[in-house]
Subunit: 367 residues, 2 copies
């Protein structure tokens, strides 16, 4: 199991630590996404050296490939992928409702077709927990309904009620000592968010996540929910904002008291040649970088920025070299992990507001 | 410039060292291929840690992308790609005659179409040296005609005469302190090989390479040429067998007194899921490895074999993960570099014959 301790606070922003049997997670934390048992393009030692204290694995994807039972027989996900540090697994809910072709949603669970080969698969709360237990993650997530927006208040109300009943079943299904987080749904309705949260707190989880944001709504709407709602989450448990997001979204989340974040942006953008820098995002394929001897980010101390020029990174990208994806991913993960490290330090020094302002002033210039 | 010193001998096999301004190269040596300014899938520090003392860069490819003049303006290939150790560049001859669409071959040089965009390009001996000087490699190669086999004795005779005249022009064109090797052609004709060699020795180079082998002939024919001819190459200069080859070919070459090898096999095979092991090659995608907890090669001490199972490597390969290419390449390069390291030690102990026999006995079992 895990324990959470809040350490310092600056406004609503807070630092803390999550203690797990596989190591300590200083918060706020960014979790690199390791969809299929690898943070794409990275070796685990490299991800660790960049400062990752926990990574995320995808229940849906790992169930399809290579199969959670196979992973279990080979000693669990940590051993399989050579990452002996904490892992959080999502519940598969988000992928089932976004990637797969749904055929049936009932009280019992969801029937859908695999996006790989069309196989019919049934996910229930119990099945999701079984898979996550086979994977052996340190933190599991409850299986939730990710309703497609826009939807009526009444529809969303029904949906969070179902998510609550599924959360109860998830907790009842757990037979391991893995931690389990509840997922708050409710769209952009504060009253439904509050009800979902109250329901989950009544059941009692090891942490609380906000799901169903950053799924197409305006950034402004997401920020409003965060500012009016995030502080309602229990103060003594980790608060996790799922699938978020851009650097500025993460700082906004931290400002409202969120502790945990995950997002594919740093890794996915890297593979598309998009690099995060202190002066904004740059697209390395642009011809302006053809002969540019500068590092991607002159203010960055990472391995890539110490050793390589934009011209070289552009050449690798244009030539579709594998090293392009390695170096871009390395740099972007460094950027995200440094962003939250700096946020932690700023909170400790009670200077988070200044840090956020100063970061955004530079970042919004765009190089 | 470089200097070569022969250190020990075991039969015709020999150890030595090539001294270069960028470091010492113990021989026999295997040179990983870094076609476009990167050993595919590898970071340079990783390649170095595996024991590579020199890598190869491709003149033809780098001329097309990103362009040798651009590389020159950015400080040369070593700096551009973050590899401060020795680099050998080929002359472009092999690629011009194999990859590109030839339009004209004259005394002056070769006109061809880029395999990328069809642009018309002219390579001459002077142009090849100019490109290699722009790249700033430590060892350059003469621009040679790579004649398509089978060809008549008379045709090959004409071809080596042209290659000799081009070699003279290459030497005359050199204005830098980079070393320059001559390339012996002559197909499978011993008399023509000897004449080509004599011509080149008369001109005088810093090393001598055997070109035009491992281009489709029987392994037996290649071995016959090696055994009857390799010892004719000057004893006091490095001897380089270009583009060779399978592990058994490299040991055969070492046995006949060859010092230097390069080949895309370890890196290219890796990307296709083919792993070299002490018990032969294995194709990691085979279903027999689906749940195999063993490392790729139980007798291997490399990072991959210490940390990962065949089951994991198969999963990465089947899922087309970038880490698959990284780990497979790492393992295969380790295999090749260890093969020549062990060969060096065996020669030093005057036990090369036994080493070769013992390696081949195991290797030919196929796992």
């Amino acid at each position: 199991m895990i324990s959470f301790e809040k350490l310092t606070q600056s406004g609503s922003a807070r630092t803390g630590k999550i203690q797990t049997p596989r190591g300590e997670i200083p918060t706020p934390v960014f979790m690199p996404v390791g969809t299929l048992g690898t943070v794409k393009a990275m070796a685990p030692e490299e991800t660790r050296e960049l400062g990752a204290s926990i990574i995320l694995g995808n229940t849906y994807h790992l169930h399809l490939r290579p199969g959670d039972e196979l992973v279990h027989r080979l000693g669990g996900l940590h051993r399989f992928m050579n990452w002996p540090f904490p892992i959080l697994t999502d519940s598969g809910g988000f992928q089932v409702f976004s990637l797969a072709k749904l055929s049936k949603l009932t009280e019992e669970g969801v029937t859908f077709q695999s996006h790989l080969n069309g196989d019919t698969i049934v996910f229930t709360p119990e099945k999701s927990i079984e898979i996550q237990q086979n994977l052996g993650s340190d933190i599991m997530m409850c299986f939730d309904e990710c309703i497609r927006l826009p939807a009526t208040h009444a529809k969303i109300e029904d949906s969070i009620a179902l998510t609550t009943r599924w959360a109860e079943r998830c907790k009842a299904a757990r037979t391991s000592d893995q931690a389990l987080f509840g997922i708050i749904q409710g769209g952009l309705h504060l009253d439904l968010r509050q009800r979902s949260l109250d329901d989950l707190v009544d059941i009692g989880f090891d942490g609380y996540a906000i799901g169903g944001l950053s799924v197409g709504e305006d950034t402004k709407e997401m920020y409003e929910i965060l500012h009016s709602f995030a502080h309602q989450l229990p103060d003594t448990y980790p608060r996790y904002l799922m699938g978020v997001g851009e650097p500025e979204d993460i700082l906004e989340g931290i400002e409202t008291g969120i502790d945990m974040f995950d997002c594919v942006l740093p890794t996915r953008n890297a593979r598309n040649g998009c690099l995060f820098t202190s002066l904004g995002k740059i697209s390395i394929k642009q011809s302006q970088y053809r002969e540019d001897p500068l590092p991607p980010d002159p203010n960055c101390a990472c391995y890539v920025c110490q050793k390589y020029s934009r011209a070289y990174l552009r050449h690798l990208y244009m030539s579709k070299e594998i090293l392009s994806m390695r170096l871009n991913t390395h740099h972007n993960l460094h950027f995200y992990l440094k962003l939250v490290l700096n946020a932690r330090e700023a909170i400790q020094n009670d200077q988070f507001t200044q840090y956020k302002k100063s970061f955004l002033e530079k970042y919004s210039q765009t190089a």
